[in-house]
Structure formats: C-alpha cells, structure tokens
Amino acid sequence: MNDGATAVPALDVAGVSKAYDTASGRRIALSETSVRIEAGEFVSVVGPSGCGKSTLLMMMAGLLAPSEGEIRLDGRPIDGPPPGLAVVFQDYSRSLFPWMSVRRNLALAAASDKLPKEEVARRVQHCLTAVGLPDAADLRPYQMSGGMQQRVAIARALMVQPQVMLMDEPFAAVDAQTRADLEDLVVRLGQEFGATIVFVTHDIDEAVYVADRVLVLAAGPGRLAADIPVDLGSRRDQVETKLDPEFARLRSEVFQLVMRPRAIVDVPVSASA
C-alpha cells in the first residue's frame, strides 16, 4: 500500500474469468475481474454466496486455473501452487492431516524446501509459538479444539515464510469467542510477518475489522462490485475499534453493497420461477 502504484503488486489479478461446465450448461462463477493487491496489504473479500469469492482465492492459490485472464504473483504468472504463498482453508478438519502429529503436519509444509532437520524443528517451534501453541507439537489434531486446530493450520501456513497468505473463510467453523481471538491473532501476525493477506469471509464485521481494504463481490455472475479502503489505523481492538463511528459507517456501507444487488436482482427472478 505504501509503495505506491509504481512497484510490482504482490498479487495482480488481470481480467480473470472462471466458468464451469455443468450438466445444465455453462455457469460463470467469476467474470472479468481485475484487482491489484500491494505487498503487505491486508485485503478482505466479502460477498453473498455464489459471488465467486472462494473461486477467486483458489485461483490466486494456483489450485484452480482461470478460464480467461491471468494472475501474477510478484510479476510471475501463477500456474500451480507457487512458492512463498500459503493457504488456510475453512475446514481445518479436512486441511490438517489427522494421521500425523502437529509437528509432522507443520514439517510437511517445509518438505519442498529441503531444509536441514534442525532448521525445520526450529521453525516448527517458532511458528507454533507465534500462534500461541508452543506446547502442542506432539498432539494430534483430533486431540485439539476447533480453534486450536485452526491455529495449527495458521502455523502451518507460516512454515513456508509466506509473502502472501490466503485465507478462505478460516473462522467460519469456530465459536464467536474463539473467532475474536483468532481475528486478533491474524491481524497481529500480518503485521509481525509483513505478509500480504487475502482474507475471504462472509462476515461483514469481520471483513471490516481485520482489513486495510475490503473487496465486495456481487453474485450472478460473480464480479467485483466495490473496493473500499478501511481507514481504522493499524491497531485494532475488539471493543474500541468496533465502537469507532468509522467502523460503523464502513460496516453499513459494505452491508448495503452486499445486500442491495440481491434485493434488486433476485426478487423478480425468484418470483418468475
């Protein structure tokens, strides 16, 4: 954000579309979307279901190829999961591997770096400490609560020392209290590790609270509806920030953007159906 527009953006989404062939014909999940995300930015992505926000994230992760357009990471086109990029998935029970200890789950993330054993061990400990679980290395995922498992998933993402961290509705499956803790954790880690973070969520409060910038997507077909800077300073607090009038203004602005298209478009369609 601070480097200005002249530098190469961390993530450059250029004219990207994604369409699927389904039994009932071609369905466009995302159409003609362009976004530039600068290094060190914390960007959240919100939108109604079916707006293609997860699709966009999976394409950034190199797990899904765009039908048209291109996504560049540090100027290099993405074709497959790139190095220096980590993903935290929504469902921790299906992204962590339950047949391995926490330690081995984390070490696996560094497997492609061919590091010496001691370095891996050091990094595992460092990342676990960073997410507040310094003593969890020998546990198995199923011995932990959902919130702890998602912390482990975040620690695993940190293992690759990512420049870019993509998070796909990471806290959708945890309770409200844990969720607040995890939001603060992610904000802090973003600042400490200096990583660029793209954070997909369906929770509007969360989108505004964690980010420097909110991208609002609209559905049918999925497209970028708005790009809203969040000017709440770098320090966020669950109580103070959420009492800030600016927070309230942003949240209602995003809320209207998310809800309005549905009110206008969906009603006649469903009425005729």
Partner: protein, 293 residues
C-alpha cells in the same frame, strides 16, 4: 463415486458398538482384558453345548470337544520350549500352509494396492478397466482350481497362485475406491503445500484412503484362508488342508477334528492380528469421527 461401496467389511472398526468417541478416559489395560474375557461367556457356553451334545449322542464323526482338544495336544503340542511348545507336526503343516498364505496374500496386497492407486487416480484407466476388474472380483476364483493344478501341477506355486488371484481384486477395488474417494480438501491442502507427486501419494492419499484399503485387506484375509485350505484339500501332499483330508481318508476322525481346531486357531490369530494392525493405523479415524462418512 456413485458406485456403491464394493466392500465395506461389516466388522470393520468403524462406528460399531465398540467404536469409542473421544469420550471418557479408558479403563486400564488389565481391566479391559478382564472385560473381554468375561464377554467370552457365550462362546464358552456354545463350546459346552458341543461337548454335552457329542457325549449325549455319540458319533464317530462328531467327537466331544475335550477329546478333540486332547488329540490336538498330543499331535501339535510338545513340552519343549525351544519350539514354542509346538511339535514338528505343527511346523510341518502350519509352516507350509502359512508360507503359501503369506506369499499369495502379500503379493496380492502389493499388486492390488499399486494397481488400485493407478486406477484411483487416473480417470482414463478407471474408465477402461473398472468393468473388467469388477468382473474378476465377482468371479468365484475357486473355479480356477482345476486349471491352476493343470498349469502348476501339485506345487506350492499352485496354492500361491490361487490365493493371489483370489484376493488381488478385492484389494484393488477397495484401494481404487478409497483413493478416488479421498476428500478433495485434503488433496487441495497437500497441493497448496507444494508436495511432490510422491509425497502427495505417501503422505496424503494413502493415509486418507487407508480405512478403505485396510477394509479390503481385512476381507481378503478370510478369502485367502478359505482358498489356502481348499487348494490343499483339492491336491497337495502337505499343509493344513492336506492334514485334514488325509486324516479323513484314513478314518482318523479325532485327528481330523484336531486339524480343524488348529486351522481355527490360526484363523483367529490372523484375524486378530489384522484387527490390531487396523486399530493401530486408524486411531486418527476413530477419534475424529470421520469413520461414519
């Protein structure tokens, strides 16, 4: 994966009466052993029924259990600790049979899992070979016994061939179904970690498919034992099945029953070992409650 589960061993350790969730702490080991022992009352009662029935209605073909056990002791057990109290008669028969069993069965596991991996990951291969593999799976392989004898003569290779051919398909189908059914989230997660193809197979796909693969292998133990015995009954000059049929032909019915007891004990031991391996490897599955998915 729209096909119905090819095999789901009903006794597989998934969500049955014995499946424990992350519930209260388990009682100590000796306590559990004692409970298991106490749960043997029905088995014991049935064996007593055998004893009483055979004594009440004496028949040459159906001797009482105590007599069979006495015969078993004198034929297969010696008091020599150096051979684990087992006689030469035991090692001659059981050793030969188990060697055949292991060769055929382990071969089937290696080939079945490897081919199953290929079929489970390749859409083209699975479309091409799925029907054939299922055809072979439902074939009563024992019908090949006469042909196997023709090809190999009365050799160990004949028994091994039949055991291999009889078990490889079920392992293959279960591996392929297991691999194809691995939750895409795990694969995606592995790919996002930039795992090599090899690491993706060994660290993600195989462990994730392990419940299904092991279910197939567990069913194959029973089939392999059946085929081992049948092939030895049909034509051999050694092994457990031969021992039984030889005793029958020489009218040594007690010895025949003793042979049956030995086969039963070996079957129970092998199945028990298989369950133990399965429980050990699949601890994560029982705990996460994914077993029912």
């Amino acid at each position: 994966m729209s096909s119905p589960a090819a095999v789901a061993d009903p006794a597989a350790p998934t969500g049955g009466p014995a499946a424990g969730g992350p519930g209260p702490a388990r009682p100590p080991r000796w306590r559990r052993a004692l409970t298991t022992l106490a749960d043997g009352w029905l088995l014991l009662a049935l064996l007593v029924v055998w004893e009483v029935w055979a004594r009440a209605d004496p028949s040459l073909f159906f001797p009482p259990l105590t007599k069979v056990l006495g015969e078993f002791g004198s034929v297969y057990l010696t008091s020599d600790p150096s051979t684990l109290f087992l006689s030469a008669g035991f090692w001659d028969n059981a050793g030969v049979s188990l060697a055949r069993f292991l060769q055929g069965w382990l071969g089937a596991i290696v080939v079945g899992v490897a081919a199953g991996l290929a079929l489970g990951r390749s859409r083209v291969l699975s479309r091409m070979y799925d029907p054939i593999v299922r055809f072979f799976m439902s074939m009563p392989k024992v019908a090949l016994l006469p042909v196997a004898v023709q090809i190999f003569g009365v050799t160990d290779a004949m028994n091994v061939f039949l055991i291999f051919l009889g078990t490889v398909w079920i392992i293959l189908v279960n591996t392929a179904d297991g691999i194809a059914g691995v939750d895409e989230s795990w694969v995606r997660s592995g790919r996002s970690l930039r795992l090599s193809r090899f690491a993706l197979f060994t660290r993600v796909l195989l462990p994730a498919a392990a419940p299904r693969i092991l279910a197939g292998i567990r069913v194959s133990v029973g089939t392999a034992l059946i085929l081992m015995i049948v092939s030895e009954l049909y034509a051999t000059t050694s092994g457990l099945g031969y021992q039984i049929v030889y005793a029958e032909r020489t009218f040594a019915y007690l010895e025949m029953w003793a042979g049956l007891v030995l086969v039963a004990l070996i079957g129970i031991a092998l199945n028990g070992a298989m369950s133990a391996v399965e429980r050990r490897l699949l601890r994560w599955e029982r705990r996460t409650g994914l077993a029912d998915l």
